[in-house]
Amino acid sequence: MTVWKYGDDINTDMLFPGKYTYTCSTPEEIKPHLLEDLDPSFADNVKEGDIIFAGKNFGCGSSREQPVVGLKDVGIKAVIAKSFARIFYRAAINQGLLLIESPKAVDAYSKGDKVTVDADDGVIQVGDETFHFPQLPPEIIAIQQAGGLLPYVRKTLKKQK
């Protein structure tokens, strides 16, 4: 498991360049360009279960959802940041990608620390330090439990009609 660490204000152009926005939308098309202008080593080396740490305002900028779709598809277990930009946060809920706002956990991490995340209990372990994060509101948990927004909507549409 690799922990990737980045700084503040990482925008969606750095996570997935705008020039590909209207030509790449499937996970297979997205993957080679993931984090292309931020960390050229990421796309080739990311593995299922990896964790990303970042500073404040992660995912700011364009509403493009390819970064979220891409990170979910390559198996990122969680993005732990000091804060997230609003549209990115919503997009992550809608794709079922786990985002955790925990400035203390971000500050506690140094290279080489072992990191584990328990989403059910709301616990992050960084080295020998433990951090707790709160449960999301029930409306959002319902979307997550369905496996994302579209599966959730499919279920409700079926019930209504």
Binding site: N11, D13, G18, E36, D37, C60, S63, R64, L157
Partner: protein, 421 residues
């Protein structure tokens, strides 16, 4: 306790007496904006669209604007798929390539109105606060769900009161003001918040308000709003909107704001956002020696008539520096026509400018003026992120149309007050 604008609008749409920050409400927005990304959105739900159809033919607003005219076979196919979808589902509000940038078109066509809720799969959907609407960006997946259901959840935001005092000096514009504000509160200073403008807003035209509201997302805001007043009512009436079509929603006098910030407009000077974040601001005067190879005047931030007008006044009878390419990107066909009728386009072309079709153009690096490594662009757009206009080794600086026009003449960043008058 009184309510902020955001609390009030969300209470109305959730059919609640009041709402408080943090509360989650279910709303049926008046409109859902999508653009070229409509093609990818409908690809997510082909079976559901066949089985259930769309929630309403009045809900979607679709504008083809991001890569127009199509730059590749793939983008051409996207546009074709969108047109077929529009015809099949009898979408009422469709604007094809050439009509303009979605945000300008939505406002010009009277689809964004005071007190209404609009959501859009574009981060600059927050622009409609210029006319007193609650508007915010969402992702493609949520747009797909909204197409089917017509409803979504929203968290009631905390609100920031921004009080504007006095008026801007000559040579200083709304763009300088919003860059000044973002530099002050940072790119994340308003994250999740409703930014609500108070004070001497009667000093700001609809076009000024559009520039300011448009950049709300650059400080993280959920929405960014100027309450309806005589100026917006007059504008709406000029585009054929009847007052009965909207409600005059303003924050209550005793609304509770999370933060209060005051800015003296008379103290603002021409500003620049340096690479690679919008809050990396400084005065134009302090970076005058920086040379530039491309100048872009236009986009949804600054592609309106007054923007082109001020640029034309500055370059009139002069010639763009031999080392600079000056690109003009009007925000809509309506604006392009007005600029043609008033001789503005003639003046700009005489000075050496290239005119691009109304659309998003090079702003997101898809076509029409991408940058090579080592190049520097001075732009009136809203973002200067690394790699946004092409190469990650290019640099983007942001400024007002006056600053960009003045700099196009000299070949380096120039305080417009030096060349005006």
């Amino acid at each position: 306790m009184g309510m902020t604008f955001a609390e009030k609008v969300l209470a109305t749409y959730a059919d609640e007496k009041e709402t408080v920050p943090g509360q989650i409400v279910t709303v049926h927005p008046d409109h859902l904006l999508t653009h070229d990304n409509t093609a990818a959105i409908i690809q997510k739900i082909p079976d559901e669209l066949n089985q259930y159809g769309i929630a309403s033919t009045d809900l979607p607003i679709i504008v083809i604007d991001h890569v127009v005219p199509a730059a590749s076979e793939k983008t051409a196919l996207n546009h074709k798929n969108i047109r077929e979808f529009v015809n099949k589902h009898k979408i009422k509000h469709f604007y094809d390539a050439g009509e303009g940038i979605c945000h300008q078109v939505v406002v010009e066509k009277g689809l964004a109105l005071p007190g209404k809720i609009l959501l859009g799969s574009d981060s600059h959907t927050c622009s409609y606060g210029a006319v007193g609407a609650f508007s915010s960006g969402i992702d493609r997946t949520e747009a797909a769900a909204l197409l089917l259901t017509g409803q979504t959840w929203l968290k009631v935001p905390q609100s920031i009161k921004v009080i504007l005092e006095n008026q801007l000096s000559s040579g200083v514009y709304a763009k300088d003001l919003i860059l000044h504000i973002i530099g002050d509160i940072s790119a994340s200073g308003a994250t999740y918040c409703s930014v609500e403008y108070h004070g001497d807003i009667d000093q700001l035209s609809i076009e000024d308000r559009f520039t300011i509201a448009n950049m709300g997302v650059e400080m993280g805001a959920k929405n960014s709003v100027f309450f309806v007043d005589q100026i917006s009512k007059k504008y709406l009436s000029s585009i054929g909107v009847n007052e009965k079509e909207y409600s005059e929603v303003c924050a209550d006098e005793d609304a509770e704001y999370d933060q209060e910030l005051t800015y003296d407009l008379s103290k603002v000077v021409p500003m620049i956002a340096k690479p690679h974040t919008v809050d990396n601001t400084t005065t134009a005067e302090s970076v005058q020696d920086i040379d530039i190879q491309q100048c872009l005047i236009g986009t949804c931030t600054n592609g309106r008539l007054s923007d082109l007008q001020v640029a034309a006044e500055i370059v009139k009878g002069k010639t763009v520096n031999a080392n600079v390419r000056l690109l003009i990107l009007p925000a809509s066909r309506t604006i392009l026509k007005q600029a043609l009728n008033q001789g503005i386009i003639q003046t700009l072309v005489d000075a050496g400018a290239m005119i691009l079709p109304p659309g998003c153009g090079p702003c997101l690096g898809a076509h029409q003026g991408v940058l090579s490594p080592g190049e520097r662009c001075l732009s009136t757009a809203n973002r200067n992120f690394k790699g946004r206009m092409g190469s990650k080794d290019a640099e983007i600086y942001l400024a007002s149309p006056a600053t960009v026009a003045a700099s196009a003449l000299t070949g380096h960043i120039t305080d417009p007050r030096e060349v005006m008058n």
